[in-house]
Homo-oligomer: 397 residues x 2
């Protein structure tokens, strides 16, 4: 029986593929500090469970395909507070940011069409593109330049008649980069010049540690081109709820989103009720979370600065940092840390960087570190990492 | 900005497209008996809410991509009780049966590949095929023959080198047909002869009213070809939970399902906990539900038998019946009932049949009726329908 080329061509998640090595290490009694996965340890806003406990429908029936009207209104208000106004008909509730990204691909791309990303980028973007038989075109950025965007002329070299969208995460996963005004203006110019879509994945909007944040939603000239992808996962530490949304002011795109929503009938009822309540979380929760992550960011940055031969720039947002290690191969290094290394029975797990690149051979000596542990644990993890780099047989310095 | 041909080529759901007419009728104070949508009025098994109220995770974290292990085990046991044994690694939790169907398409089809269905069929199958740029090939069945399957030679005429799967619902939506041994053996023969997949959507398994039910999961020779699609939606009247699963013993397919599961990280945490508890629902609940639907089936069948010129055969399963009306156009008839017809301020809503056919022009005088109302309401709805057929200006007899 034939399996599709599409499915066979998909990769296992780079964040999850070393899980069997971690499992084996744990069975030997090793303690692992997990820097590999973006699962925050922060408590979910209690609003979520409060609302769910009150949920009392006799029949858990199909909901509105577009989404629970209360949740849509809550999101509308949230954006109003950010100075961006969307009509309720512009907002479609999705199964996490993931389904929002799928819907963007399906609405924009036919087989063979291209989506432009800046590598390194969130690995699942490739999978979502492949679902639609579309292709990821990766514009390179580099560790040495702090993963900043190249100039407009360079970006334009990667655009052709098949390019349907630029897809980016801001603040960035895996880089931690927050785009500055110059970079955002450049992106806006390119979008308008070629009249393509901008898919802006802004799920880490509240996680910015130096200065303020500007959303692509505030670019008036992009209104007809912008597809906003959002989620409660990171904002309220509710990753397991899988509630996100896709937003656009482009009426024709809205019509496509509605058809895609109808095809899968609705998003889950109970989680939508919980998610609507999350948006009532007081601002102080988000401020506390931001303060905590800023401390963690400073802790991990200080720890990384002490490791000789390592290249990283201070991350400005999200809770990731992309690091270039002085090793032959970061995946081998990651496996070695799980299998062969420990200090007092403890080790560290990181996500190999190659999975965040589309270009073969790139990112081989890089890795993504998620600073989702408390500062004390992060300090221990950094000490372990420093020692591991020193002892690793494949080190390059 | 370009929208994809894929999205533009998708239809609005035939079940939901007349909703604006219903809305307008309701605003004029008309009462509508909804036979258009398969939303049962049966109370959700109370196990669902009991489990959810006890849910107490401090961090609503990403779950296992394959699914909540407790839910997987509950499903395994459920199938064991039906005499079908699956290993836990064969079972993948999905966002409703809908995502299971998408995963089946993505794993089997590349652009241009074909999926064979028997029309009339569940309309969203077309959308799922289009997501993967695959094509639905429809083998006709007819109202006059009670929508029974044609013979093997006829089915084989529709198979070519692009055919990747036969996709069917058993018991049938929209037809209410339950396949007999001869039909199932014929399907099994075709699957083995061409070594293609059988996607068996069996979400109505418990809704069989005459005799027993046989699952394609009991066909040992189909083990490597069978993809089972299932869901808690109808079984436990929990449509809004959006929890389904996709099951196969084919190891290579399992590997594809896992990659697809990883791409969207996990299914929703809270609803999975509720769904796992649903499988503890005592057998008496399902027996009661079956008894109730059998009564409704008898009620609707009796009502339909009284309408002159109408063609329908007694539905054997699910809670749908496909009806051929003595009218020019069932969609016009449906709209007319909402806009221009009433008896004491009451009317009926039905789902036009053309949306359940792939062949243009087919099903124009047919409609799907869902018997999801109590018998008293169903009797009223049938009286309304009989009168509407009599009064409708486009009637053909």
């Amino acid at each position: 029986m034939k399996i599709s080329e599409r499915a066979l061509g998909m990769e296992t998640s780079p964040i999850r593929k070393l899980a069997p090595y971690a499992e084996a290490a744990k069975q030997k009694g090793k303690k692992i500090y997990h820097l590999n996965i973006g699962q925050p340890d922060i408590a979910t806003s209690p609003k979520f469970m409060e609302a769910i406990r009150k949920f009392d429908q006799k029949v858990v029936a199909y909901g509105n395909s577009q989404g629970d009207p209360n949740l849509i209104k809550a999101i509308q208000k949230y954006y109003d507070d950010w100075g961006m106004h969307y009509e309720t008909k512009n907002i479609y509730i999705t199964n996490g940011g993931s389904e929002a990204l799928e819907m963007a691909v399906f609405s924009l791309c036919d087989p063979g069409d291209e989506i432009l990303v800046f590598e390194p980028y969130y690995a699942n973007y490739t999978t979502f593109a492949k679902l639609g038989s579309a292709k990821i075109t990766a514009v390179p950025t580099s560790a040495e330049d702090g993963y900043r965007l190249p100039d407009q002329a360079t970006v334009e070299k990667y655009i052709n008649e098949k390019t349907r969208a630029i897809l980016l995460t801001n603040p960035g996963n895996p880089t931690g980069v927050v785009y500055n005004k110059q970079e955002m203006d450049m992106i806006a110019e390119v979008i308008k010049k070629y009249n393509i879509a901008l898919i802006s994945d802004e799920v880490y909007r509240e996680f910015v540690y130096d200065g303020t944040y500007t959303s692509f939603g505030t670019y008036k000239e992009l209104e007809q081109n912008l597809i906003m992808v959002d989620s409660v996962s990171k904002r309220y530490s509710a990753c397991g709820a899988r509630i996100g949304c896709i937003i656009t002011k482009n009426t024709e795109l809205c019509a496509q989103f509605m058809k895609l929503c109808q095809a899968r009938l609705c998003a889950p009822a109970v989680e939508q009720v919980g998610a609507a309540a999350l948006y009532d979380t007081p601002a102080s929760y988000l401020e506390e979370v931001n303060k905590e992550y800023k401390k963690r960011r400073d802790t991990i940055a200080a720890g990384l600065a002490k490791i000789p031969g390592l290249v990283s720039s201070q991350p400005k947002g999200a809770f990731y940092v992309m690091v270039k290690f002085p090793v032959d191969d970061a995946e081998k290094f990651a496996i070695w840390m799980l299998q062969d290394f420990d200090m007092n029975g403890e080790t560290v797990m990181i996500a190999p960087g190659n999975g965040f690149y589309a270009t073969p051979g790139k990112g081989v000596d890089e890795a993504r570190l998620a600073y989702v542990l408390n500062c004390e644990d992060l300090e221990k993890a950094m000490a372990l990492l420093a020692e591991a780099v020193k002892q690793y047989p494949g080190r390059k310095i």
